[in-house]
């Protein structure tokens, strides 16, 4: 991951990730999700426009984030997935657990 930024839209937090998610990036991602949830914002949209790759530890972090947001009555939703990224989610059979949107706007509106 080259850069992770966040922005507040109403009661929704939009997290934008730039660069591939691999190896120890998952630790940082885990921490980020739990901080946001702790702050009382369990509705998170992950914007993955500039992200081509995720490995299984990164997927582990996404799933972890999904579980804990849902536990707090929120959700973790994804948007702007590119083909390579989407293929990995498909191959790892993880895609069905997430709500995925074509644009940030759609994702934010979906809550």
């Amino acid at each position: 991951m080259k850069k992770v930024s966040q922005e507040k839209k109403g009661d929704i937090i939009v997290v934008t990730i730039e660069g591939d998610i691999e190896f120890d990036d998952s630790i940082q991602l885990n921490e980020l999700f739990s901080t946001i949830i702790k702050d009382g914002h369990p509705k998170i949209v992950l914007d993955l426009k500039i992200c081509n790759y995720i490995d299984s530890s990164g997927i582990g972090a996404l799933v972890e984030g999904l579980k804990s947001t849902q536990k707090a009555n929120g959700d973790l939703r994804l948007c702007n997935l590119n083909d390579d990224f989407q293929e990995i989610l498909m191959m790892t059979r993880i895609i069905k657990y997430f709500q995925i949107f074509n644009s940030l706007e759609d994702a934010v509106k979906s809550f």
Binding site: D55, S57, V63, I88, K96
Partner: protein, 918 residues
């Protein structure tokens, strides 16, 4: 040359088809087929033997130029067994030659010689030089037997080919005609029974009645010998009252035989009659007498009076040269027995005293009135009319007995329709039911009603009434008649219980006859229409489907194809197809749609054409399957009843690569000649037509000369043997491995016979499809090594990052396509992380060995850690689990990304292979 010949054959067959005037007339059809065949081939004799359910034999139906009557054969003959396993014609000359060769060799098995001898005998019996099976759904329904060519010219393979095609073409037509004829016979039979009933009820002379009965019984039961035995009050014994087909001497012998009396008496406990198929199995009649008379099979229907006392017997016999009676014949005999009882009642009434004359006359008038009607509803109306007008009762209601133990009103007189129509009487809780169960008429008043459900009588306002059971002779319940007596109880003199019982009894028999007649009439009418339509439709469907399936094999010199489809009904749900994407790429698809018969056939036809469409547009099996899934979804509206399993393979003759995708289908088998191993082509993906995402992931595998691709449907692997064991894909694989050099066609035939043997030569219960592709002339391709990997890395995140980025740089330099690049990246980093975390347990002092090779054909990387190794089976199990744990995902990802994933025995080395196409 061959092509033109085939064309000419088609032409001839087309002409023959045109020449058939009425394809549903079996005799006409067979005769015109015989004439046509004799015109084309000039054979010495031609006969059709068709299986008859009556005689349980193949009976000679039509023939020409036959010198003597052929001997019939049955289902259990060697010839029929041969047909059922080989599904092909047999030439007697070859059997003779085979026999000579076998007999010369001392090593020959006796069983083999015996089999050939049996076959030879059967053929001789049929006077056949060539015998061709007429088969429907793996069952022999007839045999076409012919002699040699009239001219003395030898029979050529071309002649045999024509005969095969001829029989195959006309089998559906013959089948339709047979079914139609069976229906017609059935109708005739019902009519005849009805006529007998009618005739009997109009006659009053004992002698004449018995004459009619004996004669008609003989005709209907196809029995030349008939005995009507009745209890003689004068002699206090059973006596033969009428016989048919016996001499006086024979009758005398029978009457004087020791057990004559007991024979009939023994029927008193057998309501449904006795059927004896051979003298030895019988325990009732004296065997010696039967043998003396030359009797083989005996049929006895008991005659009971209203009180269920045995009063006589209708006995039919067939001699040795005739086939034994069947259960169906017994049914006919029982109906005849009903009619005899009716006749006896009628005539005995005539013999009664003068005082009964009026009553008698009334019964006679009533019977006459009833029998003048054919239709059931008219008869019911008339019954009501008789009670209300002729007998002056106020009201009457007739209930029919239904199988769910209820009585449902059929007709009534004196009540408005909507009052009684909705009634339904439980026979166990109502007085009407009690009467039916006990079989005796009952006069009912408030006292009798105590303890019974009074709903019906209250609703109908009945206070005093008579309930009459409508029973047939064998106590088969038909219903009850309820006659209103009014507000006061009536004396027996007033309502004449005997007369009412008799009328009820007659009404029962006449209703039953009418019911039989109307049911069969209606059914036949419907069936006749439906039959001829569906037969034609089914025939067309069969042609269309076989046409679809027997489409020409693609013309590729590199491969040899053989494909078989055996539907278990006329039309089936399996399909295969060869779809060329371009000159160098050939798609092959095998699939199975849910269900069987016509619906499956429709779905199959649709699926096949969808595949054809997308198979021409896309080169990737994954995409083709995915698009087919979407199309099917839109057509099938996601009904769980309809789904399709399929395997799609794309053979690339430029790169010698097979790409494949699998949607819930059985894994095809690739026999790899170089390794002498069978590989199951497994790939992720569930069946089509139901889910948005089938989770399809395509894989690739290189192919080489000598390899064999075996595609099949579960009809093959799910054949069970006597011990209920499945044939299974492992047995299929080992069968292929033991016969690797057999060419596709021979292997197919051998395999089918093997599977038939496994299934104990029974009919297949599912469609069977088998496509075998031999790779025999692929162009040689060179594998050039471009890069070798051999690294020892530190077992840490740092070491792994360095190794992965190093390899990725190399891939980029080699301009490996982006998707493959991503796959390698994911699989390799997952493998390394696994090694670090699980193998080396995070111990950074340990290391990981990475070795491998990148060629123009493949990328192969092995990862070896210094751990104790893991249990490989455990890992395999984990793949299938739907757990959300991310390490589990790692394994899933590796399997999904790579074409091949191998572990060594110890579980310390993981080898990943991805095949490349330039």
């Amino acid at each position: 040359m061959l092509g033109s010949r085939i064309h000419r054959q088609d032409h001839i067959i087309h002409d023959i088809r045109q020449g058939i005037a009425d394809p549903l007339d079996l005799r006409q059809l067979l005769l015109s087929l015989i004439t046509s065949l004799s015109k084309v081939l000039h054979l010495e004799n031609i006969c059709f033997h068709l299986y008859s359910n009556d005689s349980e034999e193949f009976e000679l139906k039509e023939s020409i130029r036959l010198s003597k009557t052929p001997i019939s054969i049955d289902r259990d003959s060697a010839l029929v067994h041969y047909f059922e396993s080989k599904r092909d014609l047999i030439v007697r000359d070859q059997i003779r030659k085979g026999l000579i060769t076998l007999e010369k060799k001392p090593s020959s098995k006796k069983a083999n010689i015996a089999l050939l001898k049996h076959l030879n005998d059967d053929l001789e019996g049929l006077q056949a030089e060539i015998a061709i099976p007429i088969m429907v759904d793996n069952r022999v329904i007839g045999i076409l037997a012919t002699g040699n060519l009239h001219s003395g010219r030898k029979i050529t393979p071309h002649d045999l080919g024509f005969i095969r095609q001829f029989v195959a073409e006309f089998t559906p037509m013959i089948q339709s005609a047979i079914t139609f004829q069976e229906l017609a016979n059935k109708e005739k039979e019902t009519n005849a029974l009805y006529e007998v009933g009618k005739a009997i009820s109009s006659l009053h002379d004992f002698k004449k009645i018995f004459d009619v009965i004996a004669r008609n019984s003989s005709i209907l039961l196809k029995a030349p010998k008939i005995l009507v035995i009745l209890y003689d009050d004068f002699d206090a014994n059973f006596a033969i009252k009428k016989s048919f087909g016996f001499t006086d001497f024979q009758l005398d012998t029978i009457q004087k035989s020791v057990r004559f009396k007991e024979c009939t008496q023994s029927l008193s406990n057998v309501l449904e009659g006795i059927l004896i198929k051979s003298p030895s199995e019988n325990k009732v009649y004296e065997e010696t007498i039967l043998l003396d008379l030359g009797i083989n099979s005996v049929l006895s229907a008991p005659l009971f009076d209203e009180n269920m006392t045995l009063v006589g017997e209708l006995r039919a016999m067939r001699p040795v040269n005739q086939k034994a009676f069947a259960a169906r014949d017994l049914g006919i005999a029982m109906n005849l027995a009903n009619n005899i009882i009716l006749a006896i009642n009628n005539s005995s009434r005539h013999q009664k005293s003068e005082e009964d004359y009026i009553e008698l006359n009334m019964t006679y008038t009533i019977t006459k009135a009833l029998r003048s009607e054919f239709a059931l509803d008219r008869i019911l109306h008339k019954i009501c009319h008789i009670f209300t007008h002729d007998l002056n009762f106020r009201r009457v209601i007739l209930y029919f007995y239904e199988n769910n133990n209820t009585l449902i009103p059929a007709i009534a007189s004196g009540w408005p329709d909507d009052l009684y129509k909705s009634l339904s009487l439980d026979i166990n809780r109502t007085i009407e039911g009690k009467v039916l169960i006990e079989g005796r008429f009952l006069q009912v008043g408030p006292k009798q009603l105590e303890g019974f459900d009074p709903t019906a009588s209250q609703l109908l306002g009945l206070h005093h009434f008579v309930v009459l059971p409508l029973l047939l002779v064998n106590k088969k319940p038909l219903g009850v008649l309820v006659v209103d007596l009014g507000d006061e109880p009536a004396s027996a003199d007033n309502f004449k219980p005997r007369l009412l019982t008799q009328i009820a009894h007659q009404a029962a028999v006449i209703i039953e006859n009418a019911r039989l007649y109307s049911e069969s009439e209606l059914l036949n009418d419907q069936l006749r229409k439906e039959q001829s339509r569906t037969a034609k439709e089914l025939q067309m469907a069969h042609y269309i489907q076989q046409g679809l399936l027997s489409a020409k094999y693609p013309d590729h010199k590199e491969i040899q194809i053989y494909a078989t489809n055996i539907p278990c009904r006329a039309v089936g749900g399996d399909f295969y197809n060869f779809i060329a994407f371009n000159d160098d790429m050939l798609g092959v698809v095998v699939g199975d749609v849910s269900g069987k018969g016509i619906p499956a056939a429709l779905l199959m036809t649709m699926t096949n054409s969808i595949f054809k469409e997308f198979g021409k547009r896309f080169s990737s099996p994954e995409q083709i399957l995915q698009h087919t899934n979407e199309s099917l979804q839109s057509f099938l509206s996601r009904s769980p009843l309809f789904y399709v399993t399929a395997f799609y393979g794309m053979i690339n003759f430029q790169t010698n690569m097979l790409k494949y995708g699998k949607a819930g289908h059985n894994p095809p088998i690739l026999y790899q000649a170089k390794k002498d191993e069978c590989l199951m082509l497994d790939a992720e993906g569930t069946y089509l037509g139901t889910f948005d995402d089938c989770g399809l992931i395509e894989k690739a595998i290189p192919i080489e000369n000598g390899d064999k691709l075996v595609l099949y449907t579960d009809g093959i692997t799910e054949v069970r043997n006597k011990k209920k064991q499945l044939f299974g894909k492992e047995r299929l694989a080992s069968f292929i491995k033991t016969n690797p050099t057999l060419p596709a066609e021979k292997l197919t035939k051998f395999l089918i016979s093997e599977i038939e043997r496994w299934g104990d030569n029974k009919e297949f219960t599912d469609d069977i499809t088998l496509v075998i592709i031999d790779f025999k002339d692929l162009k040689p391709l060179k594998e050039i090594t471009q890069y070798k990997i051999d690294e020892k890395i530190e077992s840490s995140l740092k070491g792994i990052k360095k190794c992965v980025s190093g390899l990725l740089n190399k891939l980029e330099a080699l301009e490996i396509n982006k998707r493959v690049y991503n796959h390698i990246r994911l699989a390799l980093s997952e493998a390394l992380m696994n090694g670090m975390e699980h193998g080396n347990k995070g111990d950074a002092s340990k290391s990981i060995l990475v070795s491998g090779v990148i060629t123009n054909r493949r990328i192969e990387v092995s990862v070896k850690d210094e751990g104790l190794g893991f249990d490989v089976s455990l890992l395999k199990m984990k793949e299938n689990q739907v757990d959300i744990n991310h390490r589990g995902r790692g394994i899933t990802a590796i399997n999904a990304c790579m074409d091949e994933v191998r572990y060594n025995e110890a579980g310390t080395t993981l080898t990943l292979v991805k095949y490349l196409e330039p």
